[in-house]
């Protein structure tokens, strides 16, 4: 069986859905960050696959920008978790429930 471009797009879609569902179901902020990473990297696969299919470099170039953005997001996210952990021992999303209405 030949692996065509559609397989990569399918892989990307499945990864994206796993990330999205994981983010909605898991309660640990760190795991939620991982899910966001999974979603972004799923899109990267799409970009590369589509760029190859279209024979166009801009799809591949987009991946670099996305990687930078993903790194920046992790920096901010981890900083937030550290700041929260300094103030209290456990950091799960359920513990954070001051705000509701």
């Amino acid at each position: 069986m030949e692996v065509t471009n559609d397989w990569y797009l399918l892989l990307s879609a499945v990864m994206f859905v796993i990330g999205a569902v994981g983010l909605m179901l898991r309660r640990n902020p760190l795991v939620m960050f991982m899910c966001v990473e999974l979603m972004l990297n799923a899109v990267n696969i799409s970009f590369v696959a589509l760029g190859t299919e279209l024979n166009d470099v801009s799809g591949q170039i987009a991946v670099f920008f996305v990687l930078v953005v993903a790194a920046v997001e992790v920096v901010v996210g981890l900083a937030l978790v550290v700041a929260i952990n300094r103030r209290r021992a456990a950091a799960t999303a359920d513990d954070m429930s001051v705000l509701r209405g």
């Binding site: 994206f16 899109v43 799809g59 937030l80 705000l99």
Partner: protein, 568 residues
């Protein structure tokens, strides 16, 4: 073995760019970098030197603005000013302005960081005005970098709103940060960087640039939300905003990838050209891509059903941050929505209009109905901002030039209303942002009559009472909807306006007729915060009483397809 780049290189053409077009962006980014560099070397100046340095910043702002107007514009001074005053008059005006600026800073008792930020944003505003007068008026869109980023009238007006919001928020932040004991340059630096992202977003001509600009805008705001490290609410709001924001940008990115796959390009101009040359029937990939783009941008403007983060974040974030978030993020995100959907996918409107229709109806109804049951003023304003987003979506749905003009007017009017409202709340809520319940507003008029009056005007404007900017904005939106024959949407919008009017009037009544619960000593309003609220108030009233100059301005600000123009 050849390197990949070696094969690609012959096709790579260096982009055209213009310093004039980049100037507002350069000013904001340079301002942010200078401030953080200066403050990381010298964290604390002796008090006396800081005071003199701050006062010197006022005239410096005027001087730099004068210089920027000269470098960016064709002439050293504004041509119109020079023509009216003559050379001597212009110099005299300059000297007078320097004196007034120094005096103003002295009277405002504003800190160095806030003054620096306000000055930088004012200079950026001058650059934007020059771009409008000397570049866009005579010769159309101003190129900044190739296809990727340029200014047309639409993005110039949106950018002007964004930088003015930075000025007002800087004035609000000054006293707030000192009151909360978190004084420092971080908030101001992040605010300028975020605004720079907003500027790029308003003028992005390429989907990946749009994504990067959105992230620059958002990531700075996530940090600003969480920056009040000693309040659990602030940290919680920051984390929630961050996770949901990252989630939504992943959707936006997937949407970009799918649109790229379906059309073969990420440049909006090329996408539009491609779409007009090919007859699409139902391309699943393109439709899915558009839906994902709408989800991603819908999160940012807090459209229902993507509004989940808004109440929590608005309630938890430091109040001036909310003022910034509500004005700047909405302006930038709506600019992006208009640019992508109304301009680029104009021929495809039969497919996206129903989606925006549904979002607008849900957003209007959910926002205005849920606002009524809130007990917290910031939470209530969060839901009311959701319902305002619904109004703006009605203008987007019209997909006409009248609709986009209404969107621009609404965004501008709403920005100042919301900065004013949260400005009043910043002052009223006291140390630690504790007194934000609606009950705390009871009897405000007895001990703070001026603030109560300002709050009344802002709330009436949000309700859409005549002689305020809110009325003109809502009128323009509903007019555009009727013009585009979206009668049902216009009716829903009017019902939502009536429902939320009830809410605002109830608060106004309690401000004047309620009795104050406790008698905390009333501190006088800090002059800088007072100025910010006053300016927002003045703009709200002026937009309402004399709408025609502003309406002409927004009517001229028709969004264009940027790449196609800059390349020719």
């Amino acid at each position: 073995m050849h390197l990949v780049f070696a094969q690609v290189a012959p096709n790579v053409v260096a982009p055209r760019y213009s310093w004039a077009g980049l100037s507002p962006l350069i000013i904001l980014a340079t301002g942010a970098l200078l401030l953080i560099m200066f403050r990381s070397v010298i964290s604390r100046l002796p008090e006396k030197i800081e005071r003199y340095a701050t006062v010197a910043l006022g005239p410096l702002t005027v001087a730099v603005a004068w210089l920027v107007a000269g470098l960016v514009g064709d002439d050293f001074l504004f041509p119109s000013i020079r023509a009216n005053l003559g050379a001597f008059g212009a110099v005299a005006t300059g000297v007078l302005l320097l004196g007034v600026a120094a005096l103003l800073v002295r009277v405002l008792r504003v800190g160095f960081d806030a003054m620096f930020t306000a000055g930088t944003a004012l200079v950026a505003f001058v650059a934007i005005v020059v771009l409008w007068n000397d570049y866009w008026r005579p010769s159309g869109p101003v190129l900044a970098i190739g296809d990727q980023f340029s200014f047309d009238g639409f993005s110039l007006v949106m950018s002007a709103v964004i930088v003015l919001a930075v000025v007002l928020c800087a004035l609000l932040f000054d006293e707030y940060l000192r009151r909360e004991g978190i004084a420092g340059p971080e908030m101001f630096v992040l605010m300028m960087l975020s605004a720079a992202g907003g500027l790029v977003m308003a003028g992005a001509g390429d989907l990946i640039v749009l994504f990067l600009a959105l992230e620059t805008l958002s990531i700075a705001i996530y940090v600003m939300t969480a920056l009040h490290l000693s309040r659990n609410e602030s940290l919680e709001a920051g984390l929630k905003y961050f996770i949901l924001g990252a989630f939504s940008s992943a959707f936006l990115l997937y949407g970009i990838a799918l649109v790229y796959g379906a059309t073969g390009s990420m440049s909006l101009a090329e996408i539009s050209t491609y779409m007009s040359s090919v007859v699409f029937l139902e391309d699943a990939m393109l439709l899915a891509g558009l839906a994902m783009l709408l989800v991603g941008l819908g999160f940012k403007v807090a459209a229902v059903p993507f509004h989940g983060w808004t109440p929590d974040v608005y309630q938890g974030a430091p109040t001036p941050v909310v003022a910034f978030m509500a004005s700047v993020v909405k302006a930038a995100a709506f600019a992006a929505i208009v640019r992508v959907f109304v301009v680029t996918f104009a021929d495809y409107r039969a497919d996206w209009q129903p989606a925006i229709f549904g979002l607008a109806v849900l957003t209007l109804l959910v926002g205005s109905v849920l606002a009524i049951v809130q007990r917290d003023a910031k939470r209530m304003l969060a839901y009311s901002s959701i319902s305002h987003a619904g109004f703006i979506l009605v203008g987007v749905q019209a997909a006409t030039s009248r609709g986009t003009a209404a969107v621009v007017f609404y965004v501008a009017a709403y920005a100042f209303m919301v900065i004013g409202s949260f400005g009043v709340l910043t002052v009223v809520s006291g140390r630690g942002d504790r007194r934000t319940s609606l009950d705390d507003l009871n009897g405000l008029a007895t001990h703070r009559p001026a603030l109560a009056l300002a709050l009344t005007v802002f709330l009436l404007a949000q309700a859409g009472v005549p002689l305020t900017s809110g009325f003109v904005a809502k009128f323009a939106i509903i007019g555009a909807a009727v013009d585009a024959r979206s009668f049902w949407l216009a009716i829903v919008a009017m019902v939502a306006a009536v429902v939320s009017a009830f809410l605002y009037l109830r608060i106004v009544l309690s401000v004047y007729l309620g009795s104050a619960t406790d008698a905390e000593p009333v501190e006088p309003v800090h002059p800088a915060a007072g100025l910010a609220i006053g300016v927002a108030l003045a703009l709200t009233v002026v937009f309402g009483v004399f709408p025609s100059p502003i309406a002409d301005l927004t009517g001229d600000a028709v969004p264009q397809l940027l790449g196609a123009i800059t390349r020719s």
